[in-house]
């Protein structure tokens, strides 16, 4: 076999293999999403959203408490995490632009984005559950907020950095103080990007389970009280999936479907916003 042919065969083999790799990526996506869809639709019913859980082992009931709890925890986490993240990102991109501290905090945030979420759960347990003596919804919200902050902070920093400096100079020339320039000019210019960052951070924490296991824990009763344990969809899925009853499994699948659709919807929405804003 001559060298020419050998090279061509090698090339063909390599290209085929990497195409197969790409296909396998698609395969897993379709497999997992299809599986969640097929199993989830079977368990889906109006009762799932409107009724509270039935006693263990008894058919029927729903997960109203977990839906409400999930909204509460995620909502509160957003209220805590987003302002801190946006303001923090503002400092890095504006007041400390180009300084060493800005780079350092930026790197620390990047590392924190990937810190194991279960470690955040143990941390919040130590500062908010142990001293109070009981699990509570606030602890869950704080745990999720801690995961959100670096995500929002980094996207805000990136988005603000993309606003042209000349725009700020134009505003300075009119005599505006820096904070007014930031709020009225820079934030407006970067609004879509910041919103995308917020959306993606919500998508990131809405599916988190590990940080809630030791913080908001679980609650089989309907409750608005964030000072008590609060049910969440994700922890409920974990508990129900590991449980022995078929009806629990069906509800866990249905909850999985709802949460997956919600997260993928937000993720796609964020991507579309970005594409719309920056044209591709």
């Amino acid at each position: 076999m001559n060298i020419e042919k050998k090279r061509r065969i090698k090339n063909l083999a390599a290209l085929t293999l990497s195409s197969l790799a790409a296909l396998s990526g698609l395969f897993w996506l379709v497999f997992i999403l299809g599986d969640v869809l097929v199993h989830g639709i079977r368990g889906l019913s109006i009762d799932l959203f409107l009724k509270d859980p039935a006693p263990p082992g008894i058919e029927g009931g729903g997960l109203r408490n977990a839906f409400v709890g999930q909204l509460l925890i995620t909502g509160m986490a957003t209220l805590i995490g987003v302002p801190l993240g946006v303001l923090g990102g503002t400092f890095l991109a504006e007041y400390a632009r180009g300084r060493r501290i800005s780079r350092l905090i930026s790197i620390v945030s990047d590392i924190m984005v990937s810190v194991p979420s279960i470690v955040v759960g143990t941390f919040v347990y130590a500062i908010m559950v142990k001293p109070l003596g009981h699990f509570n919804g606030w602890a869950g919200a704080v745990a999720l907020a801690i995961i959100m902050i670096p995500v929002v902070l980094r996207t805000t920093e990136d988005m603000l950095s993309m606003v042209p400096w000349t725009l700020r100079e134009a505003a300075f020339a009119l005599g505006a103080p820096y904070y007014k320039v930031i709020i009225q000019v820079v934030y407006r210019g970067a609004a879509t990007g910041i919103l995308t960052g917020i959306l993606l951070s919500i998508a990131r924490v809405a599916g988190e389970t590990a940080p809630l296991l030791f913080t908001s824990f679980n609650n089989s009763f309907f409750s608005w009280n964030m000072n008590e344990p609060v049910a969440s969809l994700t922890v409920t899925i974990f508990q129900y999936a590991m449980g022995p009853y078929d009806s629990w499994h069906a509800q866990a699948w249905a909850a999985s479907l709802v949460i997956t659709v919600f997260i993928l919807f937000i993720t796609v929405l964020g991507r579309l916003l970005l594409r719309w804003r920056f044209g591709k």
Partner: protein, 313 residues
């Protein structure tokens, strides 16, 4: 850049507020380290460092705790998942950057991003109810009757395949980290200047030769950073493995045995720890995990930054 800061009190206030908000990240990282350290103090005093990580026993009743089994489980699942994920992820990155026609680049890229967006608990559900039975009935018996017969390799495939084991957990973990590795690798590949690639094509190199001899050498720092980043992710992943690993504290050579990782032990035992020493030992595990992943992620960041600085001038 700080014009007006001294002149305008509102500006000073706003600037300080943003500064405090950005410091929260540093405070949190420091706080996590401090809290884990002080909570695990009791266990550190009782077992020391070297003894703790080499002790195989994990016995809540006798109150003897060692991290060897969980560290072993973490190491095996992480290593195996990287082994499965890296070739596929690199293949995907090559496909997106070099092979795919324009109309396929977008959809494949989106698919990979969606794969990354699926929450880990969904991977866990799918792993427990769908993948584990498939592994138990088809893949593991098949591996046992083929690779298991190979002398020397046999010890990896001993025992009755149950589907709840190291192999299944590693497969799920690898599917989870493929998107991270692939997207970092794709970004690094894209940093290769087109002119260098074109020169290679001009002297008659095939696509594979361009990838192997031009793109890969050019982007190796970034790709390495991406792999280390995925390693950090795999170390700390909890829910995807919690469903299918069984939380069995043992060191086993067979991939068909249940095991425990640091994250799985924490998820399963944290709320059940009934003595101070038990809880403190779990905190000790969390501390070890935190330090390991922090170091890993810092290394990844270091390489990614160097890659960026070197090539994006």
């Amino acid at each position: 850049m700080t014009k007006g800061l001294k002149k305008n009190p509102v500006d000073f206030l706003f600037g300080t507020l943003t500064g405090i908000a950005s410091l929260s990240v540093v405070v949190l990282i420091g706080g996590i380290f401090y809290a884990l350290l002080s909570e695990s103090k009791l266990a550190i005093e009782s077992f020391g460092v070297f003894k703790f990580i080499t002790t195989i026993d994990w016995d809540p009743v006798a109150e003897v705790f060692g991290a060897a089994t969980t560290l072993y489980g973490t190491a095996v699942t992480t290593a195996l998942s990287l082994l499965f994920a890296i070739p596929v992820a690199l293949g995907i990155a090559v496909f997106i950057t070099e092979i795919a026609p324009g109309f396929l680049k977008g959809p494949i890229g989106v698919a990979i991003e969606l794969l990354a967006a699926i929450p880990s608990i969904i991977y866990g559900m799918w792993g427990l109810f769908t993948l584990a039975p498939i592994m138990e009935m088809y893949i593991e018996p098949f591996l046992q009757s083929t690779l298991g017969r190979v002398p020397g390799l046999g010890i990896l495939f001993e025992g009755t395949p149950m589907g709840i084991d190291l192999l299944t957990a590693s497969v799920i973990l690898s599917i989870m980290i493929i998107p991270f590795t692939a997207s970092v690798a794709r970004d690094s590949f894209n940093l290769t200047p087109p002119i260098v690639k074109e020169s290679a094509y001009a002297v008659g190199a095939t696509k594979w030769e361009v990838v192997k001899d031009v793109v890969l050498p050019y982007s190796k720092l970034g790709v390495f950073g991406g792999v280390v980043l995925s390693l950090g992710r795999a170390l700390g992943e909890t829910m995807a493995v919690a469903f299918v690993l069984g939380n069995n504290h043992q060191i086993t050579t067979s991939l068909f045995d249940a095991a425990a990782t640091i994250t799985v032990s924490l998820a399963n035992e944290f709320t059940e720890a009934d003595t101070d020493l038990y809880l403190s030992s779990l905190y000790y595990l969390a501390l070890i995990l935190f330090v390991m992943s922090f170091i890993t992620l810092a290394i990844a960041k270091f390489f990614l930054l160097r890659a960026e600085r070197r090539y994006s001038r």
